[in-house]
C-alpha cells in the first residue's frame, strides 16, 4: 500500500525539481488597481482618500499619470487644461473657497496694496467668515463678513501696507468662525513693490494755477517722481533739473500733465499725441480757461463752457463726510464724448431755465495705445480746502491710475506667480513696440527685438530662459517647471535699454487663486466625464470612479516555479517518502 504512495511522492519531488530547473514562463492577462489622485490638504481630502483607499491606489496631489483625479479643495488643479482622464470634485458641506484674489502687479512702497477677493461660502448661513491678509505669516488686515445664505459669493477688498521694497508675497486666508473645522482655505498672490514707481512730467505751456496745485498734491506723494517744466515766457522755461522736453519724454515718463493746454503749439500737441499713441503713456490736460486751440485735436471735440455761478461738486462719490472729489464754478465739457471715451467725473451744470444737467467735466479717451485725460473743472484749484473737496486725493488717485496703465518697453508676467515646487509656470514677455506695431497697423509688420530671459534664484544664480514666440506678435512665452526649493525667485527679461521682471514665489503649500469659479469647476469635471459631488454623497465616489476608469487588462509574463512555496512542497514530498520507507524498515 505504501509503495505506490512512496512512488508518487518521489515522483512529485522529482517533478518539482525538474520544473524548477526548467522555469517555464506563462503569459496571463489582468486589470491593475487604478490610481486615483486626490488634490487638497484638508480634512475633506483626507476623508476622500480614506474612502477610496480600499478600491484604488490613492495618490495625494495632482499626479499627471493617475487614472482619475478627484478635486477635494474646490479649485481647478494646475495644468487642468491638459488633463484628459476622468475627473470628479467633492465640495465640503461647509467651507470657503477663494475663487479670486487679485492685486496690482506693481505698487509703490508708500501705498497700501488693495487685494480684491471673491470667495464662495457654503453651509455657513448666519455665521461669520473671517478673511485675513498675511505677508510672510504676519497678519496685516482682517475683515469679517456674515454669510446670509447657504451658498454665497462674497466680494471684499483687503489692504496691506508693504513692509519693504521687492517681492511682496501675500496670502489671503478664509475660515468660518467657530466652525470647529481645523483648516482654513487660503490663496496666494504676489506683487512687486518699488519705492517710487511712477514718473510724471508737468509741462505748463504758461504758468497755470491749476497745474501748480495739482503738482503740489502729487509731489507730496512718495510714489511719484515729479519733474516740471513751465514756459514762463517765449523761449524761456523754468524747469526742475531732471525735466526733459516733450520730445524726449517718451522714455522718461509715464504720465505727462499739461497745464494751460490751450496755449500749446501744434508741435507740442503732436509730441503729446506721439507720447500717447506709440509709447502708450497717458496725457492729462488741465484746462484752466475756455477757448480753442491745437489741443482740441487731443480732447476730440469742441468744448462748451460755463462761467461763474455757485460752486458745484464734481464727481459722483463723496466720502463719508459728504466731501466731493472736486468743487468748481467754471467748467468746460465736450458737447459729446468722443468714441471710446468715458466720463471720469461729472457735474450738475446749470442750464437756462434753472435746471441742471450732468456734464462730463473730467473725461478720458484712448489715444492709440495710451490715453488722454482732460479736466474741464477750470477753477477747481480755488476750492482745495479739505473741508470742501478732496482735491489732492482725487488727483493723486487719477495720476496713479494713469501711471499704472502706462506701457513699459517690455513686460514680464508669470502665471501663476505663486506656485508649488516643480509645478508648471507659464512665462509671458511682451515687447511693447513690436506688439503695438502689429496691432495698430494693417499689413505685415516687421519688428525685431533681442530679448534675454533669466530666472534668478535667491542665491544669485541666474538660469537662462528659452523664450519662444507667442501667439501674438510682440509676445514671447515659455513654460518652465518651478524650482524644487521654496523661495522667492525673479524672472527678468531685458532688451537693449530696457528691462523688466516679475517675481515668482515657490512654496510647498502655495495655493494660487486661479480665478476660476465653482461653475468652471463643474463644467471642467463634466467635460472629463465626471461630476461635482457634495460631501454628504462621498459614498458614491468609489462606484462613480470605478465606472469611469475601467482600466483595460494587460498581458504579463509569470514564472510560477519561482515561488518559494515549491520548496516546501519539494521538502515535504521527500520527507514523507523517507519517513514511509523508514517505517517500513527500508533503507
Amino acid at each position: 500500500m505504501t509503495q505506490p504512495l512512496r512512488t508518487w511522492l518521489r515522483s512529485l519531488a522529482v517533478a518539482v525539481a525538474l520544473l524548477a530547473f526548467w522555469d517555464p514562463a506563462v503569459t496571463r492577462e489582468r486589470a491593475d488597481r487604478a490610481t486615483v489622485a486626490v488634490t487638497g490638504d484638508g480634512a475633506l481630502a483626507q476623508r476622500v482618500r480614506a474612502e477610496l483607499g480600499d478600491r484604488f491606489d490613492v495618490v495625494a496631489g495632482n499626479w499627471p499619470a493617475a487614472d482619475a483625479l478627484v478635486v477635494a479643495d474646490g479649485r481647478l488643479p494646475g495644468g487642468y487644461t491638459e488633463w484628459r482622464a476622468p475627473a470628479l470634485a467633492v465640495l465640503p458641506a461647509a467651507g470657503v473657497v477663494i475663487e479670486r484674489a487679485e492685486a496690482s502687479r506693481i505698487v509703490g512702497l508708500d501705498a497700501a496694496v488693495v487685494v480684491r477677493v471673491s470667495a464662495r461660502v457654503r453651509g455657513a448661513a448666519g455665521r461669520d467668515v473671517v478673511f485675513t491678509l498675511r505677508e510672510r505669516g504676519t497678519a496685516l488686515d482682517r475683515l469679517t463678513r456674515r454669510a446670509s445664505g447657504d451658498s454665497e459669493l462674497m466680494e471684499l477688498a483687503l489692504a496691506a501696507p508693504p513692509l519693504a521694497a521687492g517681492t511682496l508675497p501675500l496670502r489671503v486666508e478664509a475660515a468660518i468662525a467657530g466652525s470647529g473645522a481645523p483648516d482654513s482655505t487660503h490663496a496666494d498672490l504676489v506683487a512687486r513693490v518699488e519705492p517710487a514707481p511712477w514718473r510724471v512730467l508737468f509741462h505748463d505751456a504758461r504758468p497755470s494755477w491749476m497745474s501748480t496745485f495739482v503738482q503740489r498734491a502729487v509731489a507730496r506723494d512718495p510714489r511719484f517722481t515729479v519733474a516740471s517744466r513751465v514756459l514762463t515766457s517765449e523761449g524761456v522755461a523754468s524747469a526742475t533739473a531732471s525735466a526733459a522736453g516733450l520730445g524726449a519724454a517718451a522714455s522718461r515718463y509715464d504720465v505727462i500733465v499739461v497745464g494751460a493746454p490751450q496755449a500749446l503749439a501744434a508741435s507740442d500737441v503732436a509730441a503729446l499725441e506721439d507720447f500717447a499713441r506709440t509709447r502708450g503713456g497717458s496725457v492729462v490736460l488741465l484746462l484752466d480757461a475756455p477757448g480753442a486751440g491745437p489741443v482740441d485735436r487731443l480732447t476730440g471735440r469742441a468744448l462748451a463752457g460755463r462761467d461763474g455761478g455757485a460752486p458745484v461738486a464734481v464727481g459722483d462719490s463723496s466720502d463719508v463726510a459728504g466731501v466731493p472729489p472736486l468743487v468748481a464754478t467754471e467748467f468746460a465739457w465736450p458737447a459729446a464724448l468722443p468714441p471710446g471715451a468715458e466720463a471720469i467725473a461729472t457735474a450738475a451744470v446749470a442750464v437756462a431755465g434753472g435746471s441742471a444737467v450732468r456734464r462730463p467735466v473730467v473725461w478720458a479717451s484712448p489715444e492709440g495705445a495710451g490715453r488722454v485725460v482732460a479736466s474741464g473743472a477750470l477753477d477747481a484749484w480755488r476750492f482745495r480746502d479739505t473741508a470742501r473737496s478732496r482735491f489732492d486725493e482725487f488727483w493723486r488717485a487719477l495720476l496713479a491710475t494713469e501711471a499704472a496703465r502706462a506701457l513699459a518697453p517690455v513686460e514680464v508676467a508669470a502665471e501663476p506667480a505663486v506656485v508649488r515646487p516643480n509645478e508648471p509656470v507659464r512665462i509671458s514677455v511682451t515687447v511693447r513696440d513690436a506688439a503695438l506695431a502689429a496691432v495698430m497697423h494693417d499689413g505685415p509688420v516687421t519688428a525685431t527685438a533681442s530679448v534675454r530671459g533669466e530666472l534668478r534664484a535667491p542665491a544669485g544664480v541666474a538660469l537662462p530662459l528659452l523664450l519662444e514666440p507667442g501667439a501674438l506678435p510682440g509676445t514671447l512665452s515659455a513654460i518652465v517647471r518651478a524650482p524644487a526649493h521654496d523661495g522667492s525667485y525673479f524672472i527678468s527679461a531685458s532688451l537693449p535699454g530696457a528691462d523688466a521682471g516679475a517675481p515668482l514665489v515657490v512654496a510647498r503649500d502655495a495655493a494660487p487663486a486661479t480665478g476660476e469659479t465653482s461653475e468652471a469647476l463643474a463644467a471642467w469635471t463634466a467635460s472629463r466625464g465626471g461630476a461635482v459631488l457634495a460631501e454628504r454623497d462621498i459614498g458614491r465616489l468609489g462606484p462613480m470612479l470605478a465606472a469611469a476608469i475601467n482600466p483595460p487588462p494587460h498581458a504579463y509574463v509569470a514564472h510560477p516555479m519561482r515561488s518559494p512555496w515549491w520548496l516546501l512542497v519539494f521538502a515535504l514530498a521527500l520527507s514523507a517518502e523517507w519517513y514511509m520507507r523508514r517505517r517500513s524498515s527500508l533503507p
Binding site: 480684491r116 509731489a219 510714489r223 519733474a227 489715444e367 496691432v439
Partner: protein, 700 residues
C-alpha cells in the same frame, strides 16, 4: 476569682502609648512648622530651590514629628508610668500589673500545690483583676488630651501659612521650580509729587501706569534671578537696581515723558534669556487752572462810576487750586498821560472741592474814584498747588466811563451773546429799531446802557471795515460833512482820483459809510437812538453802493506804476540767469518707517515666537511713539503674547501677535493711499486704441 488576664492591661498601656505618641507628634509638628515659618520669613526656600515653600513646610512638619518621636519615644513602661501618674486613684496597680505582665511571672496553678503558690496566684489574679477594672474605667484620651497640642500645631500652621503667603505673594502652594530666570511679580509704587497730597499708590503686575509729572516710580520685582537689567525709555542711562535679598529687587525712576520701564531677569551661568516684563508709563502733565469771569461776562460802558457791580468768578483745576482772586487795573488820563492803578477786589470764596472754587464780590465802583474817560480792566486770577506754577488769568473785561465824544477803547469786545460772525451794519439798524420800540418799557438807565452797548457794537463793525481797507481810510472828524474832504489828503492822493475818479467811487462810498458809523456811535453814547438810526441807515446805503459789482475797491495803479504792454516780451535774454527749479523731495515720515521695521520684526518671529523676542518687540513698539494709544495697546498685547509664550501656549501667543500686527498695520495704513489700479497690458491697449481709431475714422 478568675485568673488574672494581662491582656487588658497590656491593651490599655498600648492605648496610652499611642496617645503619648500622638501628643509627641503634634509637638514635633508644631515645632517643625515654627521652624519653617522662621525660615520662610528669612526667605528660604528661595525661588530656585528644589522645594516649594509649601513642600518645605510639609517636610518640616513631618521632620519635626519624626524627630520628636525618635527623641522621646514613649516606651510601654513609660506609658504605664504616665498612666499611673495621670490616674492616681489606680494606686499603682496598673503599673504593677504591667510589670508583672512584662516579667511573665504567672504563678503555677497546680491543684494541691503549696500555699505560697496559691497565695501568689491569688495576688496575681487580684492585681490583674483590679488593674483590668481600672483600665476599663480609664479613658486614654481623657487622661492624655491632645487638644492643646493640636491647637498649638494649628497656630503654628497658621503662622507658617501667613509667612509663606507673604513671602510668595499669595502663592502658598508654591511657585513652579524654574531653572531659567523668571519674574514672579512686579509691583509698581507711584509716589505723586508732595503738593498733590495723595499718598503712594501701588499696583501689582500692571501693563501700564499713569503718573503725574514729577512723580517717583519705584518698581519692585520678585524673581529667582541673580540680578536685573532695567531699561527706561526716556533715558540712555541704566537706572540703579537695588537688591533687597530673597529674590527682591527695586529700582527707582522719575519719568519725564511717556515711555516704559523694562526689566529682564539675569541669572549667572544660565545661557537662556531670562523673562522680561514691560511696564508702560504714561506721564500726565499738571494742567494749569482755568479761571473765568462768570458775571458780568462782557465789557461795560457806564455813564458814571457810581455803580455797584455783582461780580462772580469761578476756577477749576485738575488737581487742586491754591488761590482765586479778582484783580483790576484802572487807567486814567488821556493822550500820552496815563496813570495806572492796580488793585484787588475781595472775594467771598466758596470751595466746592479742591478742584472747583467760586467767588463773589459786590464791587462798589465808587471806591475807585472813576472819572469820565477812565477805564477799568478786571480779570480773575487763579493758581494751583503746583510748585512754581504761575498764576493764570482769565479773559479780561473792561468797564469804561466814556468821555464825551470819545471812541471806544481798543480791545473792546461785544456781547458774547451776539453772533459775532453775523454782525453787520444791517444788524445795527435792526437792533436800533428794536431798542427804540422797547424804549417805553425800559427805565432810563437801562435804555442808556443798552444804547451804550449798541454803540460798542457799532464801533466794532466800523473797525472791521477799516481793517478791511487796510486802515487806509483816514480818520475823519465825526462832525465833518460827508462832502467835506480833507484837501491835503486829496492833494496827496490826486493821482489816484485823476486816474479814475469813477473807479474809486466805491472807496468814497465806503469812507462815507464809516463816517456815518462814527456818527451812530456818538449818538448812541448820548442815548439818541432815533438820530443814530438815521445815520445807521445811511451807512447801510453807502455800503451797498461800495460793494456793487462795478466798483473797484482795490487801489488802482497810478500812472507811474502802470504796466506798458508794448514793452512786454522785449529785451535781450542773453543775460538772464537760468537756475533749475527746486525739485520737491519727499521723505517717508519717520514714524511710518519705524512701524514698518517693527512689522518686519514681527514677521521674522516665525510661527512659534519666543517670549524674550516678544518682550523686546513690545519695547520697540513703545519706543516708536510712547504717547500713542495705538502703540501702547499694541505693546500691551505683545507683552501678553510674551507671557503666553513663556507658559508654552504658542497658539495663544500667535493669536495675540496677530492682534498686535493688525493694529500696527492699521496704524501704518492710515497714512497711506490705496493702490488699486489696473495693470498695463500692451496688447489690450493697442487693440482698444486701434478700435477707437477706426470708430473715429482715423485709421492709419
Amino acid at each position: 476569682m478568675a485568673h488574672g488576664d494581662p491582656a487588658a492591661v497590656r491593651e490599655f498601656v498600648a492605648r496610652v502609648r499611642r496617645r503619648l505618641a500622638l501628643r509627641g507628634a503634634l509637638e514635633g509638628a508644631a515645632a517643625g512648622l515654627v521652624a519653617a515659618a522662621i525660615l520662610g520669613a528669612l526667605g528660604w526656600p528661595g525661588r530656585g530651590a528644589v522645594l516649594t515653600p509649601f513642600a518645605a513646610g510639609i517636610a518640616a512638619l513631618a521632620a519635626g514629628a519624626v524627630v520628636r518621636l525618635l527623641l522621646a519615644r514613649p516606651t510601654p513602661a513609660a506609658a504605664a508610668l504616665a498612666a499611673e501618674l495621670a490616674a492616681p486613684r489606680s494606686q499603682n496597680v496598673i503599673f504593677t500589673a504591667f510589670e508583672l505582665s512584662v516579667a511573665g511571672a504567672a504563678p503555677p496553678r497546680v491543684a494541691g500545690g503549696n500555699g505560697d503558690d496559691a497565695l501568689r496566684a491569688y495576688v496575681y489574679d487580684a492585681v490583674f483583676e483590679r488593674a483590668a477594672r481600672e483600665a476599663r474605667s480609664l479613658d486614654a484620651a481623657r487622661l492624655f488630651p491632645a487638644r492643646g497640642r493640636a491647637a498649638g500645631a494649628a497656630a503654628a500652621a497658621c503662622a507658617w501659612l501667613l509667612v509663606v503667603a507673604r513671602a510668595t505673594g499669595g502663592d502658598v502652594v508654591g511657585l513652579p521650580v524654574s531653572a531659567t530666570p523668571v519674574i514672579d511679580r512686579v509691583e509698581v509704587a507711584i509716589a505723586a509729587p508732595a503738593y498733590t497730597g495723595s499718598g503712594i499708590r501701588t499696583v501689582r503686575n500692571p501693563e501700564r501706569v499713569e503718573v503725574l509729572e514729577g512723580s517717583e516710580v519705584t518698581v519692585r520685582v520678585r524673581s529667582n534671578a541673580d540680578s536685573l537689567a532695567v531699561t527706561v525709555a526716556d533715558s540712555a542711562d541704566l537706572p540703579k537696581v537695588t537688591s533687597e535679598g530673597g529674590g527682591a529687587f527695586s529700582v527707582r525712576v522719575r519719568p519725564r515723558a511717556s515711555g516704559f520701564v523694562g526689566v529682564a531677569a539675569i541669572r549667572r551661568g544660565v545661557s537662556a534669556p531670562g523673562e522680561r516684563r514691560l511696564v508702560g508709563v504714561t506721564v500726565m502733565s499738571d494742567a494749569p487752572p482755568v479761571p473765568r469771569i462768570v458775571a458780568p461776562d462782557r465789557d461795560l460802558m457806564l455813564a458814571d462810576g457810581h455803580r455797584t457791580l455783582d461780580v462772580e468768578v469761578a476756577a477749576t483745576d485738575d488737581i487742586g487750586l491754591r488761590s482765586l482772586s479778582l484783580h483790576y487795573t484802572k487807567a486814567s488820563g488821556s493822550g500820552e498821560q496815563y496813570t495806572f492803578v492796580e488793585g484787588e477786589v475781595p472775594l467771598a470764596l466758596r470751595r466746592t472741592n479742591a478742584t472747583h472754587w467760586a467767588g463773589r464780590a459786590r464791587w462798589v465802583l465808587d471806591s475807585l474814584g472813576l472819572n469820565p474817560g477812565d477805564i477799568v480792566v478786571y480779570r480773575a486770577v487763579a493758581a494751583d498747588a503746583r510748585p512754581g506754577g504761575a498764576p493764570v488769568e482769565s479773559d479780561a473785561f473792561i468797564i469804561e466811563i466814556p468821555a464825551p465824544g470819545s471812541v471806544a477803547a481798543g480791545g473792546f469786545s461785544i456781547d458774547p451773546d451776539d453772533d459775532r460772525s453775523a454782525l453787520s451794519q444791517q444788524m445795527i439798524v435792526l437792533k436800533a429799531e428794536r431798542l427804540l420800540a422797547a424804549k417805553a418799557r425800559m427805565s432810563g438807565e437801562a435804555f442808556a446802557d443798552s444804547a451804550a452797548a449798541l454803540s460798542v457794537e457799532q464801533r466794532r463793525v466800523r473797525a472791521e471795515f477799516v481793517f478791511m481797507m487796510g486802515g487806509e481810510v483816514g480818520e475823519v472828524h465825526p462832525d465833518a460833512a460827508t462832502e467835506d474832504l480833507n484837501e491835503e489828503e486829496e492833494a496827496a492822493g490826486e493821482s489816484d482820483l485823476l486816474a479814475g475818479r469813477e473807479m474809486n467811487a466805491g472807496r468814497i462810498a465806503l469812507r462815507v459809510a464809516t463816517r456815518a458809523m462814527s456818527l451812530v456811535a456818538r449818538e448812541l453814547d448820548q442815548a439818541q437812538v432815533a438820530s443814530a438810526l438815521e445815520h445807521a441807515k445811511e451807512a447801510v446805503k453807502r455800503l451797498e453802493e461800495a460793494f456793487s459789482r462795478n466798483r473797484i475797491l482795490l487801489r488802482a495803479l497810478a500812472e507811474r506804476e502802470a504796466l506798458d504792454p508794448s514793452r512786454r516780451l522785449s529785451g535781450s535774454l542773453t543775460e538772464i540767469a537760468r537756475a533749475p527749479r527746486p525739485s520737491v523731495l519727499t521723505a517717508t515720515p519717520q514714524r511710518v518707517v519705524e512701524i514698518r521695521h517693527v512689522l518686519a520684526e514681527v514677521s521674522a518671529l516665525g510661527g512659534a515666537p519666543a517670549a524674550n523676542g516678544l518682550s523686546l518687540l513690545a519695547e520697540r513698539v513703545l519706543r516708536v511713539d510712547p504717547g500713542s494709544k495705538t502703540m501702547q495697546a499694541a505693546a500691551a498685547v505683545l507683552a501678553r503674547a510674551a507671557s503666553s509664550a513663556a507658559r508654552g501656549d504658542s497658539a495663544a501667543a500667535r493669536a495675540l501677535v496677530d492682534d498686535a500686527s493688525l493694529a500696527l498695520a492699521r496704524e501704518l495704513r492710515a497714512g497711506l493711499v490705496r493702490a488699486d489700479a489696473a495693470d498695463a497690458d500692451a496688447v489690450r491697449a493697442g487693440v482698444l486704441g486701434r478700435l477707437v481709431d477706426m470708430l473715429r475714422g482715423r485709421d492709419r
